[in-house]
Amino acid sequence: MPGTMVIINGYVFDPLNEIDGEIKDIFIKDGKIVEDLTGSGLRDAKVIDAHGKTVMPGGVDSHSHVAGAKVNGGRMMCPEDRYKWSTKKTELTHSGSGNTVHSVYVQGYDYAKMGYTTVFEAAIPPMEARHTHEEMRSTPILDMGGYLVLGNNWFIMRYLKEGNIEKAAAYTAWMMRTHKAYGIKCVNPAGVENWGWGKNVSSLDEPNIHFGITPREVIRGLAEINEMLGMPMSLHLHANNLGHPGCWETTRDSLDVTRDVKVECNMDVEWQKTKIDPKRTQSVYLAHAQFNSFGGTSWGDFESGAKGIVDYVNKSDHVVIDNGAVPFGPATVMTGDGPAIHHLYKLTGNKWSNKDIELECGSGILSFNYLKANPVHSVEWAIGLELLLLVNDPWKTILTTDHPNGGPFTKYPQVITWLMSKKARAATFAECHKWAQDRSSLGGTDREMTLYEIAILTRANPARTVGIAHRKGHLGAGADGDVTIYDFDPSKLDVNDYTKITRGFQNAAYTIKDGGIVAANGEILSVPQGRTYFTEPHKDDAIEKEMLKDVQKWFKYYTIGFANYPVPDKYIRNSAPVQVNKPLEAVVRR
């Protein structure tokens, strides 16, 4: 454990504490932020002079595909994504490769160089949880966790259809503990199940094959389960009809399904005092909204549908979205939404892979390249930015590229630049297809985000949305000692000189994790092992017993034995479980 540290003279941006560019010293002791240091603590402290620099909490990525079977599938499918992008080993760091899908080591280093310290894997198919944990534990530096894909799970669909939400909640709780997952992810609810028959669902009220359950029922059910248990994160939704022209309407209606679901976080953690309530207020967190905000009715009259989503989000208090920006260039598209990827395969003919995950879900992977000359891709670029710039309250938005779907996370600095500089957007408008200008409202907005707002979108709000703001996303006393110092002076920042913004965010001057410097100016200086966050929710024991009987009965349909299903403790490095809905005596019994 590093000793004490003081970061002096920096301009601090800490939105959860409403600190907006104030010159302020930050003190760290035993890996945690403290109010002050005295005596020997102060005398022996490592001092970092952040004069003329920007200080923010360590970055938090709430939606990124960085570990597990489909990520590795993307690696295996794309040798061309590797052989021109290799990194030598050093005395400290491992070798690695990858441009859009990196090897685990490079992922850890590159996030850290960019100032990120916490990253959540966006989709864990339960059967692939072991693989996901193997990659998370091999990723250096970062604190990680992942969301369990449950939107097409046979047990969930069955219980919800039977109206047995208690059993569905007990199943969810057991699954979280069994697979050491952090939150609930729902991908193309009820639709991926249909994909087993080569079909999909096309509306919120279309019952799927066999289970006869509708997307609306799944979304509602999982959102209620989420709050019944009191999970740290709300339901994380990848809505139906993703990637089809006109899908924005389905998305808007999907968000409305959880409008009146009462938010209830019931976690056994120590909340720090911050100016803004660190607890989430949303009952649904929409993933990569860009892919779900397509307008028009075909590729011919394709246009941005962002306005419909933005209007809805602006008048709603129960929604947070991440954008899933498209920064142009190579990408690898990967999702649990098998039919959506098949649709893309039919459109492009690019190499494609698909997988059925038995009773649970599925996935698809496709190699992709977003081109500035392509009209649809150019509109997608505009949608990704519209979604962040047109939603008035930054506490409802999060910046992502849905790595590596819209593009690799290494392009976040470019996305930040577009958000902060109208001139940077104009430069890209001039290079890309005119549809971006003609078929979106991006050109009509003058908004240029401030560093304070960028800090909300890249640390404070992702942390709050996924329920980890009790330790991440702010610089108040008690928070983890994760601090990023960017080498630009906010008092002299000229957003018209926008390449400086990109460069500044690419390589942080310092990335500090748990009070130790992990990266400085693009160089890795230490490689600590991060933590793995997961939730341990609890539900009534009697119901759980009943539920387990059902699970064991249907386990004959699985290709693996029941005993091999759970993720063993040894798969987890630096285990950081969060107790959820903890009844005292139940925990003692376990």
Partner: protein, 267 residues
């Protein structure tokens, strides 16, 4: 033009990766700086002088630099990788990846070349007087973006997957090729004076492929489009009577690929 001589010192055990043998990199350097350039051998990084005696001098620019390799370098990979200008002459056979991703200048191999010669080449000239291995001018594993400019001349034979994913440029083979030459090509010109075994132009959607010899087994997705006397293929006029095919209909509904096959030799 300044000449720089590289003489192989002896036999090489594990193949070396020598993309530093490149006029762009040699230009403006002293002899000792060139000797100290790093090549990889397995996991080791070693100076170029460990494998070659270096003589002569490099020019101030790449265009003014000619590298002459005196001897067999079949265990040296990536000679001239990505070179933009200047000249390389190999007086012997070369290893894999000679002229990979080259952009300009010229390479002459007075002997055979290993696989991946001119891989994803963008410009310049690569002339191989002997035979070439597999994947000449081809896209690398996983990609279908192959050669898109420049010229490759092979006086002898080439093996399989010549010009895979070709997007432009020209490849001329004096001898024969084996399987899947021109697979996935969508632009450019390939002329094979000798024979081809099978899979010629498989999945091609554009470009011109000429076989003056015999195609042992024509791909099934090609449609016969008549006979032509001394047809023109790009800038090249072919002599003799050729059967013209369009394809490959196996993938695209409207392919624009053209395959000329010798009427005399047949398919």
């Amino acid at each position: 033009m300044s000449e720089l001589l590289l003489r192989p010192k002896g036999s090489i055990d594990i193949m070396i990766e020598a993309e530093v043998i490149n006029p762009d990199i040699f230009a403006g350097k002293t002899l000792s700086e060139i000797e100290q350039l790093i090549v990889w051998q397995g996991a080791k990084q070693l100076p170029l002088s460990g494998f070659f005696d270096v003589e002569g001098s490099a020019g101030s620019t790449a265009a003014d630099t000619k590298i002459i390799i005196k001897g067999d370098v079949t265990r040296v990979k990536h000679i001239g990788h990505g070179m933009k200008a200047g000249e390389i002459v190999i007086e012997g056979s070369s290893g894999m990846h000679v002229g990979s991703e080259m952009i300009g200048g010229s390479i002459l191999v007075k002997g055979d070349a290993g696989s991946w010669a001119g891989m994803e080449m963008k410009g310049g000239t690569l002339h191989i007087t002997g035979n070439a291995g597999d994947h000449v001018g081809c896209a690398y594993r996983g990609s279908w973006r192959g050669m898109n400019g420049g010229k490759i001349l092979i006086d002898g034979n080439a093996r399989s997957q010549l010009g895979g994913g070709m997007n432009g440029g020209e490849i001329h083979v004096g001898g024969s090729v084996e399987n899947f030459a021109g697979i996935r090509m969508n632009s450019g010109l390939i002329v094979v004076k000798g024979d081809a075994i099978r899979g010629v132009g498989a999945q091609m959607s554009g470009g011109i492929f000429v076989v003056s010899g015999r195609i042992k087994q024509l791909s099934p997705g090609f449609e016969y489009a008549g006979t032509e006397q001394n047809p023109k293929a790009g800038g090249t006029v072919l002599s003799g009577e050729f059967m013209k095919f369009t394809g490959d209909y196996a993938i695209s509904k409207t392919p624009k690929g053209t395959l000329f096959a010798s009427k005399n030799e047949g398919v």
